[in-house]
Symmetry: C2
Subunit: 429 residues, 2 copies
């Protein structure tokens, strides 16, 4: 039986869990692939850090780049997680040395995936990154293999468990963003530095990977419509609830007239829609394609367990199969795609406008809507008499993004305004 030498670079939560999976599932891997794996090298910042298991000193490398000089490796796991720096260097060096690479690193793939995949193809090795999007959902393999000849025109979903947990929990516990975030950090559902989760950046990286695979295009480098959930208030969640809507941070990518429209923002969806009922740390991905129709996958998005499940599926794919194109088709055939002009996006929306409650305010606000050709579907005014303030909630009919942009510019100059209006798009999903 052929022996396959494995290197694991990075021993954080994921690297640790993975090592345990590799060690406990050797027999299962042998049965399923006919190949024997052996851990040949491990790299982490600190060999002495307290861990559940002892690291064999003979396998340990402080500098991961030494591995390439001193060991014969067949497959390398990169689990450091940087978009550049040592992560990129390790993956690059491995591929150039004809070593297969497996990584859960979405930041790296979203930024350098085009370059790294062509490097892998040139060196005739695999570059696998199933774990980079929605760990517990084998969505990349499904697009590349399970739905291989479908024509996909839209892919969207809940791709960040932290944000979905916070939004769900605010509704459930009737508590503020700040308190729920603090609690999520205690429970391990949010990182200590959650910035890239909350501002939508993490979701966008996943959207970029999903688009490339779904539409057979290069990773888009263009600026996208990107908004996070930092400014969502409990108030908005409550009002949404009354309107039979729910706020979800969605990552959405679609082809419109062969133009790519990628965006990430918190939006309002119907409470009884499928996506409106994906709560807590769950992730979900929905695909629209032909002939498949609508296809839905849901599962845990992050955490060492689901992530390791994806890493192991990559490993078995490499052990079992031939060389595969990292993005499903040869790099040279992945085309650039023009960007859809987001100003032409048409949707209805929710605005919450906090104002001083004086005479003339309503007419002044509604005038701004009329000026920008945005027609109002519902208007709810909640006076706060004690403080002589009022909260005006407006649901609009469908209008263009550019009109909303102008409206917000106008409103921000309005003399009655107490604070910046809250603007949330309504997705017809």
């Amino acid at each position: 039986m052929k022996i396959i030498n494995i290197a694991v670079v990075g021993l954080g939560q994921i690297g640790n869990y993975l090592l345990n999976e590799l060690n406990t599932k050797k027999k299962d891997i042998e049965i399923k692939t006919g190949k024997k794996i052996q851990i040949a090298a491990i790299s982490a910042k600190n060999i002495n850090k307290k861990r559940k298991f002892k690291i064999n000193k003979n396998l340990f490398f402080k500098d991961p780049l030494d591995i390439f000089k001193k060991r014969k490796i067949d497959i390398l796991f990169e689990a450091v997680g940087l978009s550049d720096g040592i992560s990129k260097k390790v993956v690059e060096t491995a591929l150039k040395n004809k070593i297969h690479v497996i990584t859960p690193n979405k930041a790296l793939i979203a930024k350098h995936g085009d370059y790294l995949s062509s490097l892998a193809e040139k060196n005739n090795v695999n570059l696998e990154f199933e774990a980079s999007v929605a760990g517990g959902i084998p969505i990349l393999r499904t697009i590349k293999e399970g739905l291989a000849t479908n024509i996909i025109y839209k892919v969207y979903g809940i791709l960040n468990g932290t944000c979905n947990y916070i939004l769900s929990e605010m509704e459930k516990s009737n508590d503020t963003f700040h308190n729920v975030l603090k609690n999520a950090q205690k429970l391990g559902y949010a990182e200590n530095e959650p910035k890239f989760d909350l501002n939508g950046y993490d979701t966008l990286a996943k959207v970029k990977i999903l688009s490339s695979l779904s539409f057979n295009t290069k990773i888009s480098k263009e600026k996208c419509l990107l908004e996070g959930i930092q400014n969502i208030e409990l108030k908005d969640i409550k009002i949404a609830n009354q309107l039979n809507l729910r706020i979800k941070l969605l990552g959405i990518s679609e082809r419109i007239n062969n133009q790519l429209f990628e965006r990430v923002y918190p939006c309002l969806v119907r409470k009884e829609s499928y996506i409106g009922n994906v709560n807590g740390v769950m992730n979900a991905v929905i695909l629209h394609g032909n002939p498949i129709g609508e296809s839905i996958m849901q599962g845990e998005g992050a955490g060492p367990g689901p992530t390791s499940s994806a890493l192991m599926s990559d490993l078995l794919s490499i052990l079992r199969g031939n060389i595969k194109y990292p993005f499903g088709i040869p790099s040279s055939l992945r085309k650039k795609i023009r960007k859809f002009n987001m100003e032409n996006n048409l949707c209805s929306s929710y605005l919450r406008i906090e104002v001083n409650d004086v005479s003339g305010v309503l007419s002044s606000i509604t005038k701004a809507f009329a000026l920008n050709k945005i027609s109002i579907k519902n208007l709810i005014q909640n006076p706060d008499k004690k403080n002589k303030k009022a909260s005006i909630v407006i649901i609009t009919h469908e209008s263009l993004e550019k009109n909303y942009n102008n409206l917000l510019l106008n409103l921000n100059k309005n003399k009655y305004l107490v604070k910046k209006p809250t603007f949330i798009r309504i997705e017809k999903i």
Copy 2:
């Protein structure tokens, strides 16, 4: 570029759709696999049947077994759909001739999958059957590859679009089973001979395939708990609705103390549960495993489009990869598994008992429950004064299947009974 010769046996709805996909997606297949396909043989009962396209007479074989004598074939699609007969003969002969086989035929695989997979392995070719379970959902590939090293302990779902459409539509349109079925047949959502859909047999075949893949076991030949939806009345759907429950035909398979418990029956699930909201012709599969947690997939279950999508994914898997074990591991390692004694199944349940409304009836009915140690949680009595009849609906606390069996035997002998009681299990899902 290597040319791969394809045979398609069976030109019903699926065979037809597939041929069109094969013809229109040749270029896509070349790009993704580096191989060129060519249709080398087609077999159908009647060459002259009216079709959207003309069949090249040089490719046509009335008897599919002639194909093996007269053409060099690499991959054969079997789309006849019998559990035995010519379907089995064609697949068997192909495998023996070292031809890869792709089939959507769940009846064939559920009955002869063990034999055919070992035949494929012996001849070093692939036997792929992704389309046999939930066509639009690549669930088999997901179990074998995407979740390859997970330990799965439960798999269940809505696996028959016809039944799910009928149950959903009865609730939606407030119409009888009979009328909804007739309408479903008109719309093409039910076959003219829907017996094997309605009695749960089709779902059971899919459950057997899912179990084998999930638990790495031989296909179970044991008798299962199998009930269809033929006896579900509009009345039950309405009462369920009031109780915040919904009736779904589920196929369920789980390992309990390393014993296999497979069953198919209509059951009551919470209306707000995920599975309670999968309506219409949609299929859904839910897996519980480690480390994956809960994983959900939803999509169109049948129809030529989704089925062809699965057939094409099998084709690309063969074109791209090495020889794979049809059930994920070598046939020789797939173990037999003992059957869980279904009499020990514990659940609460719904009973609707139609009786003559005379004094003493309620005491007589409830006595039967007490005798069988089944405790009653709710009881709703609806008198039909005009006809001197009454409908007694009882929700029970959890009890053993064997107690329910005895209860039903007792009730059937009850002198006040107007007709056989309706018994529906409640699934805690």
